[in-house]
């Protein structure tokens, strides 16, 4: 049996190299299970956690586990914040495996980390949710996991049946011989786990053989969610944990001037009052977190009552003089002046020379407000610290970043930190920062007990890492043939990357894209970014920087069309030109054909040819994001001062579609999120204090304000690998809406939120 893995020193392999750093590996499981996974090169010295092989299913990794009874367990490595990756990623593995989906259970993975001489080795590679990267990354490696498991099962079946593997086929968890004999995967799992690995990774399926990819399927957690049994981090308990609720300093750089906790400590159930004074530079790199007074109690109600009885006086820091109005004024002054930009992001041709040849020039300035994340599940964290171990349940989009915070605060070695990530109640970029994890760990250290930290809704609104507002000054140069000859874009904003150890010449990257429309389509194109400074905390936000820029650019193209008395669809199509692929500065291409296609799809569906003749207003917009393409067409009616969104059509081309049902939900959801944001939402600050404290001040759109339906058209484009779709439908919703409002009301809204500005101008 020289072919057995146990004798692998005789020239057999126990892993397959996928790339320089990634390997496929097979592990024999207990009870005849077959376990296949991906391993990173820097983890090769370290055995995989024993839990993978035992009964602790939640620690499976990007693994397939096939049990003797035929049930298949697949690990979902990326946190699911509502993007559906807990469903779509395991589907990718299951299809390659030819598993019977009805026998598949999906388990969310915790953070996979092992100790490599004191440095962390990430067992599962990339683990980030909600940034649009989960599906493309999974397409690159998770298919291999399924393919290898299937190959091994086929070899086992070949031996058992005495038929060459090439003559066998797989279908829904069964291997079928030419003569009709069948063996189930469960039956073969134990044998398969002893087969030596091939030298090279087994070939992947061809698209014609996909049975699950491209077929609609519901969310794997759906039943648990509708029955209330899904446990989010906020629902997790340790029996002996104290509940911590906080009072944050209103200013991130402020200080505590006075504290009287006498009444708080008299509340039954309150155990302790703790002050946290995080130093700048700790524990979140250079991102400051506000000073905190925490009330720790035996239950949430006691803690909340105790916090209400705290007598605190806070003293503002330098941010205490900041006002959002003044900051916007300053941005306007900067753009009006002759100051050189902080960064010249792109400079094609010669805009100044083009200006001299202009037949027509158009200028407009657009404004976007500051925004908050407003996740449904507020920030929270459950932590237990022991001398040589930390266990956490964290609602995070980036468990590896959470790990770094815990490691810095505890000094524990990599594998001593255990982070579990259940389904997350919304992320939108908020959970890429881990101030709340730092607070929970510091409190657990201070009281020497497990801590269950809960932020209130008001704290969520008041202590966010906000999306900064921005001012966009656009200028178009048009020649006699109505072609766009030049484009000059100047943008001022406070970078999301400032105060985060990012070099000055990279701060623009969170604010705009060098390749955004209409770059590469206009011979003379210039894009300048002006930095604003602010001590109000800022961070990643779903869809940035596309959303703010698409609103400005796609509104402006509509204005250009109007100034030339043209159909904006026609103006768009002339700008895009012939279907072709244009190279982008960040790599990849802009495929104008795919962009034209989604534009035409929404135009046809909404009956665009009547755009001038309908009493309602029609608006259209398109955009491209990392190899994916999107267009919106929106129809609105004005009834006096009331805006009614009558129809919304969205077409997307994300290349190959893994789960059409999930994609439709994601596109409809992102559209509604973008409309809700554009209609009503703004964060403002006065004397450094955020003015919005709850949903009344930050009114997410209600059912009645939103359209009754979003008609989603998904282009089936199997020639291209799957691109991310999590926020793809956001950038074009607001400009299509504003363009429709213009046709319906003759009011051009250049400032968001739209309703406030529309009512001011009507």
């Amino acid at each position: 049996m020289s072919n057995d893995r146990n004798t692998s020193d005789t020239g057999c392999h126990d892993h397959i190299r996928l790339s320089r750093r990634r390997f496929l590996q097979v592990l024999a499981g207990t009870a005849g299970a077959l376990v296949v996974g991906i391993r990173m090169a820097d983890a090769t010295d370290v055995p995989l956690p024993l839990a993978l092989l035992g009964d602790h299913f939640y620690n499976l990794g990007a693994y397939v586990r096939i049990d003797a009874d035929g049930s298949v367990l697949i690990g979902a490595r990326d946190p699911d914040t509502g993007t559906g990756v807990a469903t779509s990623l395991p589907r990718i593995i299951a299809d390659e495996l030819d598993a019977d989906w009805k026998r598949v259970s999906v388990v969310p993975l915790g953070l996979g980390v092992t100790d490599n001489n004191g440095q962390p080795s990430w067992t599962y590679g990339r683990q980030v949710g909600g940034s649009g990267g989960s599906t493309p990354a999974a397409w690159n490696d998770l298919r291999q996991v399924g393919a290898l498991a299937r190959w091994l099962l086929l070899q086992a079946a070949a031996r058992r049946l005495g038929v060459p593997a090439s003559k066998l086929r797989c279908n829904a968890g069964t291997v079928i011989a030419p003569d009709g004999r069948r063996l189930t995967y469960g039956n073969l799992a134990e044998d398969a786990s002893k087969i030596a690995l091939p030298t090279n990774a087994p070939p992947l399926k061809t698209a014609a053989d996909y049975r699950l990819i491209g077929q609609p399927v519901g969310d794997v957690d759906a039943r648990a969610i509708v029955t209330g049994l899904t446990r989010y981090a906020i629902d997790e308990h340790y029996g002996d944990a104290l509940v911590a609720v906080l009072a944050h300093c209103p200013w991130p750089d402020g200080t505590l001037a006075h504290i009287d906790a006498t009444d708080t400590l008299a509340v039954k159930g309150v155990v302790k009052v703790v002050r946290l004074r995080p130093e700048p530079g700790q524990p979140l790199g250079s991102t400051a977190i506000a000073p905190v007074v925490a009330v720790l109690a035996e239950d949430t109600w006691s803690a909340l009552q105790g916090r209400q009885k705290l007598k605190l006086e806070w003293k503002p820091g330098a941010s205490g003089s900041e006002n959002s109005n003044a900051l916007e004024q300053h941005a306007g002054d900067l753009l009006a002046g002759k100051t050189d930009p902080t960064t010249r992001v792109r400079n094609d041709g010669d805009v100044d020379a083009a200006r001299k040849k202009a037949a027509r020039r158009l200028d407009a300035t657009y404004f976007q407000p500051w925004l908050a994340h407003a996740t449904a599940e507020p920030m929270n964290c459950l932590v237990r610290l022991e001398k040589d171990h930390a266990s956490l349940v964290v609602p995070t989009q980036a468990p590896q970043k959470a790990w770094a915070v815990v490691q810095r605060l505890t000094g524990l070695s990599p594998a001593q930190i255990d982070i579990r990530v259940p389904r997350v109640g919304g992320g939108y970029g908020r959970r890429l920062d881990h101030d709340y994890v730092a607070e929970a760990v510091m409190l657990a250290k201070a009281v020497d007990k497990p801590v269950r930290l809960l932020w209130t809704r008001a704290q969520d609104f008041g202590h966010d890492y906000y999306r900064a507002g921005s001012v966009h000054q656009l200028s178009a140069i048009i020649d006699r043939k109505r072609q766009l000859l030049g484009w000059n874009q100047r943008m001022a904003s406070a970078s999301a990357l400032a105060h985060r150890n990012v070099p000055d010449n990279r701060l623009w990257t969170s604010e705009l894209e060098a390749d955004q429309l209409p770059a590469t389509l206009v011979p003379n194109y210039r894009s300048d970014w002006y930095a604003l400074d602010s001590a109000i905390p800022r961070g990643p936000m779903r869809g940035m920087p596309h959303i703010s820029n698409a609103f400005a650019v796609e509104s402006f193209i509509d204005e250009i069309a109007h100034s030339m008395k043209e159909d904006p669809l026609f103006t768009h199509l002339r700008m895009l030109g012939e279907p072709r692929e244009l190279p982008l500065s960040a790599g990849g291409t802009l495929d104008t054909g795919r962009l034209i296609n989604v534009l035409k799809l929404v135009a046809d569906r909404i009956d665009w040819k009547n755009w001038l003749h309908t009493v309602n207003g029609l608006g259209i917009a398109c955009w491209h994001v990392d190899g994916a393409y999107v267009a919106h067409a929106i129809e609105v009616a004005m009834q006096g001062q009331k805006l009614i969104i009558q129809r919304v059509v969205c077409a997307v081309d994300v290349g190959r579609v893994i789960n059409p049902l999930g994609l439709q939900g994601q596109v409809a959801g992102a559209t509604l999120d973008a409309l809700s944001t554009a209609l009503n939402l703004a964060i403002t600050f006065k004397d450094g204090q955020i003015q919005q404290h709850n949903y009344k001040d930050y009114p997410l759109a209600s059912m009645a304000q939103l359209p009754n339906d979003v008609e989603v058209i998904t282009v089936s484009n199997d020639a291209h690998p799957p691109a991310g779709a999590s926020f793809l439908a956001m950038p074009t919703a607001a400009p299509a809406l504003a363009n429709a409002v213009f046709r319906a009301s003759a009011v051009r809204v250049r400032r968001l939120p739209l309703m406030k500005e529309l009512l001011r101008l009507l």
Partner: protein
């Protein structure tokens, strides 16, 4: 164990065991189960459900239940659990999202419709939508778009159009039957 001493008068032995005094408390009925709450009568139902009973399907929505994630049925009517001190709930029936499915695991038609229409984003606010929708059917057995528009739940994932479809799916069946 203290042995009970035999008494001198055999006819009516007086026990030395003093029965526990009936404790003051609030009799609660939640998902058909009976509980006696002897703690702070002002504790909001939300924290009792989540901290004491560990029924965590009802979510924290905000200090005043603003986004509807903490809706429960109180005698059949949807109310925010954080606004209901336990003292008010004696003798009333509370049903949470965990109480919607039958004991045999059969789903409520709205639960099934939410699954069928994929009316779920992150899922955090879903229990609140379900309770609100059940309350809507109580008031309007055949809800139309205008009735659905009255729901005040909030959702940033944008599940509203799919929730609308789920409600209409059940309303359509109700109309047929």
């Amino acid at each position: 164990m203290v042995p009970v001493q035999a008494q001198a008068v055999p006819t009516s032995p007086e026990s030395s065991i003093v029965p526990e005094k009936v404790r003051d408390g609030i009799a609660l009925e939640i998902n058909g189960e009976h509980y006696q709450h002897t703690g702070d009568p002002q504790m909001p139902l939300l924290w009792y459900l989540r901290d004491v009973l560990r029924l965590t399907g009802t979510k924290y929505g905000g200090e005043h239940g603003e986004n509807g994630a903490d809706l429960i049925l109180l005698d059949g009517i949807a109310v925010s659990a954080i606004t209901q001190p336990l003292a008010k709930l004696a003798g009333k029936q509370v049903v949470t999202v965990e109480g919607l499915a039958g004991n045999d695991g059969s789903l409520h038609p709205l639960q099934q419709a939410f699954i069928d229409e994929d009316a779920i984003g992150c899922g955090y606010c879903t229990p609140g939508w379900l309770i609100a929708a059940i309350d809507l059917f109580r008031r309007k057995p055949h809800p139309g778009d205008d009735d659905i528009d009255q729901l005040s739940n909030l959702c940033r994932c944008g599940c509203q159009t799919r929730v609308r479809r789920a409600i209409k799916r059940v309303a359509g069946k109700a109309t047929q039957s």
